[in-house]
Structure formats: structure tokens, C-alpha cells
Amino acid sequence: MKYSYYPGCSAEATAVGYDVSTRAVCAKLGIELVELPDWNCCGSTSYFSVRELRSFGISARNLAIAQEMGDMDLVTTCNACYTVLAKTNRYMADNAQLRADIVEALHRAGRHYDGNVKVRHLVDVLVNDLGYDAIRERVTKPLTGVRVACYYGCQMTRPMGTFDDPEFPVTLDKLTEVAGATPVDYPCKTKCCGGMLMLTNEQAALRLCFELLKSARDSEADVIIAACPLCEMNVEAYQSRVNKEYGTDFHIPVMYFTQLLGLALGISAKDLALDKQVVPVDSVLAALPA
């Protein structure tokens, strides 16, 4: 199993843990990831509202590089990157004029893209290409008794994702079971984390994070797992500000789903960059069998 890999900007900054754990888990599971050489920003959801064609061009450049790498699906882990790259494909297929504009822009940069590189979320690859059973076979340290709130975020299964129910996805819950842990009923699993609003309208974003954290606590979750760098950061790093705003005492560990899965696969916390978390994950690590 070989895929081209698009880490996305966050992977080099706020979401180092996601990138590190993704590479470690894939290596363990026999999935070969080949990083795109000289990749750039995915186009970014917010930039689309300002300069649409330019965003598409930036996005398509990554896809053009993936096409040059040969016949491989392109894997990404960030929900936003996933949505933007897949959106570029769909818009190119549906809109002849846009397609011509993008192709011309790429030609000026000395590249070409046909619109055929398949964009995949890592969750999709794990559950559909590899399968739950193949992963379960490699679990050596089941996280028995750990209660997990699976937070999919808003963009993994919609509007571009087709591998799970758009409004009530279950793939991360099943992966959690594969890791030996217990997924809790988490009604907010696809609610918004506030996204970029944390920088422009903090009150609104804090309210959304408060709901996500409260729901996790109501469900008696020990840890929240995320599948998107922005979700992870908002829900984890803003807990103290949420507490100040709402008089709460949240101190809930948040990690990437790849980190949880990595632990079950026997990868060390350090190799999964779990030492970089804002909220310590000691309670989860304590559940690991010796």
C-alpha cells in the first residue's frame, strides 16, 4: 500500500503530533506514505472567500505534484486540507471554465493537472483499504477501559467526505474499539469547534468549545480524540480560557486519533509526540498494559 502524502501547514507547527503519529502508525501498519515534494498551502478554506481562483490554483498545484508522482491516491490528515483538495477536484470536473483557468495557471508555473488524483482522508484509507480486522491483529496494547469521545469535526464527512454518514459518522468510534478502548456516546461529534473564529470572534468560538467539552464530560469521557489540527488545538489549548469564561474546571486530555491508535499498536508516547500535548495525557498512558 503506497500513497502520496500531503501533511498540510499545521503539521509543521501546531499539529506536529498529528504528522509524527501518522507517519509512525502508517509505518507500523505497512502503509507507505511518500510526502509530496515542495508542497504548499492547500488553498485554505478562508482564502476561498477572498480570492477564489487563486485558492483553486494553489490547491491544484499540490494535486499536480501528486499526479507527477504516479498513480497513487493522495492521503491527507487535516479535515480542512481534505475538503479543499477534494473540492478542487469536484469543481474542476463540474465547471469547464474554471478548469481551463486552473490548467492555464498551472501551465504558467510549468505544471499540469488532469483532475484525476483521488484525495483520501487517512481515516478512509485505514478503515476501507486496510480494514478494521487487519488493524486489530496488530494491536498489542489494548487501551482497556479508556472512555473516548470521538470528535470528527465538521469537515471530515461533509461536504466532500463519502466514506461515512455525513451527520452521524461511526468510523472513529469503530477504530477506537479496535484500539481496545470504549467509544462513548458523543452527540456533538460533528459540531463545529469554532475554527478560525478563535482569532476573530473568540466569544463565539469559546462557546462552541465549551459545548464540546461539556458534552465530553457529560459522557464521562477520559479523552477526546480529534482528526483535524484546528479542532484539536481549539478544544485542547483553549480549555483554560473556556474555564475562565464559563466558570468550569475542564482539564480533559485531547489527542489525535492516530496517537491513540499508535499507543494501542505499541508505539511509545514519545514516538507519537504525546509529550507535546498542552493537557497532559498521563491518565490515558496509565491505562496502557505493561
Binding site: 451527520e167 452527540p187 458534552s215 457529560d218
Partner: protein, 676 residues
């Protein structure tokens, strides 16, 4: 019926071949200005008169009128006309009219052809010159073909007077009773242990609120006792052979493991059975039954059935007590009973196989199956029914009384993700639910969340108005989600329904104790397979396909097979009963004749020329070709053939010929269309 008998001799080749001395009459209709406004009719008539074989060519304002028809009749009698072409509208409009006129004057009706110069010409061609030219070509094709036409006679098929009705819900019950009362013998095949269908589960019926059981069970019991009805419950149709008037139906009678001749329906066995916690299908899983059971007290037939999956003796040969055997006075229990096959001969069939409730798990945001006290509409029917598992008490899972209930409309219906169509009954039954809750629990708040209220039946809008006065809260907005995630102290421990109130323009969070999902109606899961057993198909939405949506709503493309009730599309009880009556009338129209006439424009296979490759046998979509056991040649079952022509095109030796569409007729038509 043999060909000779009907006068449709062989493939008829030579009957008309080369007989150019035929006397042809041509009539061109103005159809008011429909044709005459675009086509230069006098020019077409003048041209037609000059064509070889044409004895007379006339025009008339309305050919379909009596004077128009008289023109044809008089010419046949006075001029000795032997072939007629009427250039007018589509043959689906008036071909029967003109063919009858020809027959009245003593001319075989199949020696008359229509030339469609209205739908195919004047209505779709703006330029008068082009339209006139096209009219000549269309007419010329028929003039050239006519010498090759041969006299054909409809085929007579004897009709078996017995009728099969499949499905014992209100639709099937109604159709069966009507037919039995008309003196026909009816076989009623029902898949479940008892007839009654969905209606038997309902509490009250909208908008009059009469109790469903009170109006249904007398009909069930009448059916069970009717001397003209043979009830085959717990049975399924597995195969249908034959054709209109002469169907042979194979029915599998599933083993009940109870001798129904001995069983008296006393119910002592179900009291004695040690397996008592099987979820009752009739009570929608809210109540329990034993492994040996009578589904409900008014079941017809009132006979016990053993469910082999849960019976300890049948599932693992290990029931120590076999207390049912001991309890059964008449010794009716028979663990060795096997499925049986019976063959029925009937002349007509009515399918009334009903619907299934939309599976609410397909709409996961509403939490059905995950959140307690989110229930389906059928579950609520059982909850509020006095004969239901709670004795008619509307209660939560913990036995407490709900203080607030939300009823969510359009679950699975009017949805791009699930069923595009409106299920037609849900608005009304949702209103009925609101009324029943208010009646049982006057202090309970009821919320109806709807997209649009669709109450278009007799007394329906009035019922809606009445409910507004009964203190029910109506919110215009489809529910977005049902969650147990509380955001405020009032929401703790409640189900919260989120919806956009589109009249106020706000997003609402309604904390309630119970949520009823007004699920849409889906086709039966095996509707497609069942329709294929009977030789027709399903619409895009999965329901049985009628022959014509407006004019033949209870007929199917298989002659002699009728449909009624919710198997055709969701409908309420009044509409279902009306359709059942229509289906019964359709059957009676057919079987009250000793024989039926079948169009003779069907396929013929010359046994001398058939090489016996049988490629046509598998290709025939109507199973109308069989192999003659003696000669090995393929032969057409005339009553089953629909004249589609597939065998004609498929035969490597060109043996099958379709009467009325012989090669020389088609070639002559083409030639005729090209001469102008």
C-alpha cells in the same frame, strides 16, 4: 386455440403479396384546425388519389364523428373497398373507432391502417409546406403497406373463474370479500400467520377516530368464514406460470408445526410455553410473545404457530418440558411438519402486498435505536392501543408518563437522502397521535414539527383545525436532530429536539420526554422480486408499477394481474379500500367473460423452419415461448405473447414473424415513405 381456427393462417405470407389490385380508400381528417391549420389537406388528398391502388380519397372535418365514420362504411359497401387508411390522429386515440366502423361494414378491421399526421406531423411541424410534404410521406407509407396486410382475428382464450389475492391487509381483505360476494372462488395468500396487515396494529383511524380493530376485525372474520374464500395464511407465492385467464400459481405453505385442522386457537400452548420473552412482531417489539403463539387475539385464522428459531425443540432439540404438547388438548402440535407446496389454477390475480415502515435507523441524527424514548409511529400505535403491551397507557421506557412529546414529521420522506416522495399519510396520523396524547394525558405538551401540513382528504383539514384548538403546538420546521446533550438545567435528562422554526426565524431547542418519528412508507423489501414473479416491475421509487398512472391505476402490464393499496404507492385507508374495489371490478370485468379476446398482432413460429436453437425462449420477456416436447421446435403461447418482436429480431434464421408487422409490410412502409 389453433391458428386455423382463428383464421390467422400461418404467418400469412402470400395472403396479400403482390395483390396490387386491392381497392384502397384514403380519408384525410382536418381535425378542425389541428391538422387542417398546418397541413394542406386538399393537396394531400389530391396526391393520394393519384397513388397506385387508391380507388377513392376523401377529406373530412372530423373523421371520428358519425358522418365521418359513415363515409368509410358507405365506401366499403358501395365501392367494394378492400383496404382503408385514415390519416388523422394517433392510433392510440381512434384506431379502435375506425377499425370498428370497418368491421361494421364487413371489412376485417386489420385491413385498416392509421396514418398519424397530427401528433407526428401537424402538431410538431410549423412550416405548412414541410408539414404537407411530411403528411404525404406518412400517408404514403400506409398506402404502400396495405396490400400486404392480411385479415387477422382476435384470439379467444378461456378464462378460469377463480381468483388469487396476495396479501391480507385491508386492501387484500376488501378485494377478496368483494370478489367472493360476487360469487367467485378466491384464494387468499398471506405471508404472516394471520391476516390483518398494518391496519390491525393501529389504534384509532383518522379523521373520524373510529377504532381500527372495530372496523377491521368484522371483515377479517367474514373473510375467514366465507364459503367462497380459501385462506392460505403463513404462505408465499413462489412461482407463477401461464397467462391471462389461465395462471398456474405455486404457493409455499410454511410449516406452522401445528395441525391447523386440530388446533382450536384456545391459546393454552402459548401460556404453557417456557420461552416467553420473544419480542412480538405484532407489538413492534414493545411486548413479548411465546415461541408458540397466536399473534393477537382476533387473529384469522385463529391458529397457533411455532417460531422455529425460538422454539427449544425445533432450534436445538432440547426442550425438556415440551409443555405446549402437554397443554394442547386436541394434540395439534406436530414438530415433524414440513413446508408444503400447493398449486392453484386461477384466471386473475390481485396483489395487495402493502408497505414497510421506513427504517428510522437510516436517519441516525434522530437517535432511533440509540436514545431511549425515541419511538416510531407504529410503536406509538401499539403504545396507545388498549390491546397493546401497555394496555393503552402512553408511557416512557421507565414506566413514567411523558410530560412532553415531540412528533417529527417526514422521517425518511421528502428527503434527498432517502425517499424523495411524500408518504401522504404521516401528517394525518401525526395529528391523530397528538389528539390521542391529549385525550390520554391532557396535561402533556405536544409539539408537531412539520415541513408543510398536507391534509387533503375528506374531513382532513377540519381535523387539523380541530387539533389547533386542542392546544397542540405546531412548529413549521423539519427537525434537525434529537440529542441527549443538555445545555441547560431544564434540558437535563430530556431529549432535545433541535429545529429551525421557519415562521419565527429562530433555532429552537425543545426539551421533551418522548419523540415520535412519523416515519414514511417504504416499498416492501422484496417488492422487486415479487413484481418479477408476476411478470411486471416497479417504479423508480420501488413501488409496484401500474399500467397507466391515471387511467389504469390498478392494472399492470401483465394482463390479468391487478394491484391495489400501498404496494402501488403510500395511501390511506379510504383510498386503499377504493382501490381494492377497483381491482375487484377489474377482475370481474375479466373473469365474468367466459373467454377473453387477445390482440392477434403477435408472433408466429413456423415449426417446419425452426431449427430448435431456442435462443428466443430465454429472450422472451413474457415467457411466451415454449419448446414443443415432441418436435423440439419453439412455439408461441399466443395468450401470453405481447407482440414485442424480440424473438423476430433475435432468431438467427429469421423464422418468427410478427403478424401485422411482417417484413414485407415494414419494407413496403419504408418504400412508401420515400416515394414522395
Amino acid at each position: 386455440m389453433s391458428d386455423q381456427h382463428n383464421g390467422n393462417g400461418g404467418n400469412g405470407r402470400g395472403n396479400g403479396r403482390g395483390q396490387r389490385e386491392e381497392k384502397i380508400a384514403v380519408y384525410v381528417c382536418h381535425c378542425g384546425t389541428n391538422i387542417g391549420g398546418t397541413v394542406d389537406v386538399p393537396a394531400v388528398v389530391a396526391w393520394a388519389a393519384s397513388q397506385p391502388g387508391v380507388t377513392v380519397a376523401r377529406e373530412y372535418k372530423y373523421m371520428c364523428s358519425d358522418p365521418g365514420q359513415d363515409l368509410i362504411k358507405n365506401d366499403i359497401k358501395e365501392l367494394g373497398i378492400t383496404r382503408v387508411v385514415v390519416a388523422a390522429c394517433s392510433p392510440t386515440m381512434h384506431e379502435p373507432t375506425f377499425r370498428k366502423a370497418a368491421a361494421d361494414a364487413g371489412l376485417n378491421p386489420f385491413l385498416l391502417q392509421m396514418a398519424n399526421i397530427r401528433e407526428h406531423c401537424s402538431w410538431v411541424t410549423e412550416d405548412p409546406v414541410a408539414a404537407t410534404q411530411k403528411a404525404k410521406r406518412i400517408l404514403g407509407a400506409q398506402i404502400h403497406r396495405l396490400p400486404f396486410n392480411q385479415a387477422l382475428n382476435p384470439i379467444d382464450v378461456q378464462v378460469n373463474q377463480d381468483v388469487l389475492v396476495v396479501g391480507g391487509g385491508i386492501a387484500g381483505i376488501e378485494a377478496a370479500l368483494k370478489l367472493a360476494e360476487a360469487g367467485k372462488h378466491v384464494y387468499m395468500v398471506e405471508r404472516n400467520p394471520s391476516i390483518g396487515g398494518h391496519m390491525a396494529m393501529f389504534d384509532k383511524t383518522f379523521p373520524t377516530l373510529d377504532c381500527a380493530a372495530c372496523i377491521l376485525t368484522p371483515k377479517m372474520s367474514a373473510l375467514g368464514k366465507h364459503p367462497n374464500i380459501t385462506l392460505l395464511a403463513y404462505s408465499e407465492v413462489t412461482h407463477v406460470d401461464g397467462y391471462v385467464g389461465n395462471f398456474t400459481v405455486t404457493v409455499k405453505k410454511k410449516a406452522r408445526y401445528v395441525n391447523t385442522d386440530l388446533c382450536t386457537g384456545c391459546g393454552a400452548c402459548q401460556e404453557a410455553c417456557v420461552v416467553r420473552k420473544v419480542k412480538s412482531e405484532f407489538d413492534q417489539g414493545l411486548g413479548y410473545r411465546s415461541a408458540i403463539y397466536i399473534p393477537f387475539p382476533q387473529a384469522v385464522p385463529l391458529r397457533a404457530t411455532i417460531d422455529p428459531e425460538n422454539c427449544l425443540t425445533l432450534s436445538r432439540g432440547a426442550c425438556k418440558k415440551q409443555s405446549c404438547v402437554a397443554a394442547c388438548g386436541p394434540k395439534a402440535i406436530d414438530f415433524d411438519q414440513k413446508d408444503e407446496e400447493v398449486e392453484l389454477a386461477v384466471g386473475a390475480i390481485v396483489l395487495a402486498t402493502g408497505f414497510e415502515l421506513f427504517d428510522c435507523r437510516e436517519e441516525p441524527t434522530y437517535g432511533y435505536g440509540r436514545l431511549d424514548n425515541v419511538i416510531t409511529s407504529l410503536e406509538f400505535e401499539r403504545l396507545s392501543n388498549a390491546s397493546g403491551p401497555t394496555g393503552g397507557h402512553i408511557v416512557l421506557k421507565n414506566g413514567e408518563t411523558p410530560k412532553s412529546v415531540a412528533i417529527l414529521h417526514c422521517v425518511g420522506s421528502r428527503s434527498v437522502n432517502h425517499q424523495e416522495y411524500c408518504s401522504r399519510v404521516c401528517c394525518m396520523y401525526s395529528l391523530k397521535f397528538a389528539h390521542l396524547i391529549k385525550e390520554h394525558l391532557p396535561d402533556t405538551e405536544v409539539w408537531e414539527l412539520y415541513i408543510d401540513m398536507r391534509t387533503n382528504g375528506k374531513g382532513y383539514e377540519e381535523f387539523y383545525k380541530r387539533l389547533m384548538d386542542e392546544g397542540v403546538n405546531f412548529i413549521r420546521g423539519r427537525a434537525a436532530e434529537v440529542t441527549d446533550f443538555a445545555m441547560s438545567p431544564e434540558e437535563e435528562g430530556k431529549l432535545i429536539v433541535k429545529a429551525e422554526d421557519t415562521l419565527l426565524g429562530v433555532v429552537r431547542r425543545l426539551p421533551v420526554d418522548m419523540v415520535i418519528l412519523s416515519a414514511g412508507l417504504s416499498p416492501q423489501h422484496d417488492a422487486k422480486e415479487v413484481s418479477q414473479i408476476f411478470g411486471f416491475g416497479c417504479s423508480a421509487n420501488g413501488f409496484f408499477l401500474e399500467r397507466h398512472p391515471k387511467l389504469e391505476p390498478v392494472a399492470t402490464v401483465t394482463d390479468g394481474v391487478f394491484i391495489c393499496g400501498a404496494c402501488q404507492f403510500p395511501k390511506d385507508i379510504p383510498d386503499t379500500v377504493a382501490q381494492a374495489g377497483a381491482a375487484a371490478a377489474g377482475v370481474l370485468t375479466l373473469v365474468n367473460n367466459v373467454s377473453v379476446k387477445i390482440e392477434p398482432t403477435i408472433s408466429y413460429i413456423d415449426p417446419e423452419k425452426c431449427s430448435g436453437c431456442h435462443v428466443c425462449v430465454g429472450l422472451c420477456p413474457y415467457a411466451a415461448i415454449r419448446v414443443n416436447a415432441e418436435t423440439g421446435a419453439a412455439e408461441v403461447v399466443e395468450a401470453a405473447c405481447k407482440g414485442c418482436g424480440v424473438c423476430v429480431a433475435a432468431c438467427p434464421s429469421g423464422v418468427p414473424q410478427q403478424r401485422g408487422y411482417l417484413d414485407e409490410q415494414i419494407f413496403a412502409e419504408i418504400e412508401g415513405a420515400l416515394v414522395v
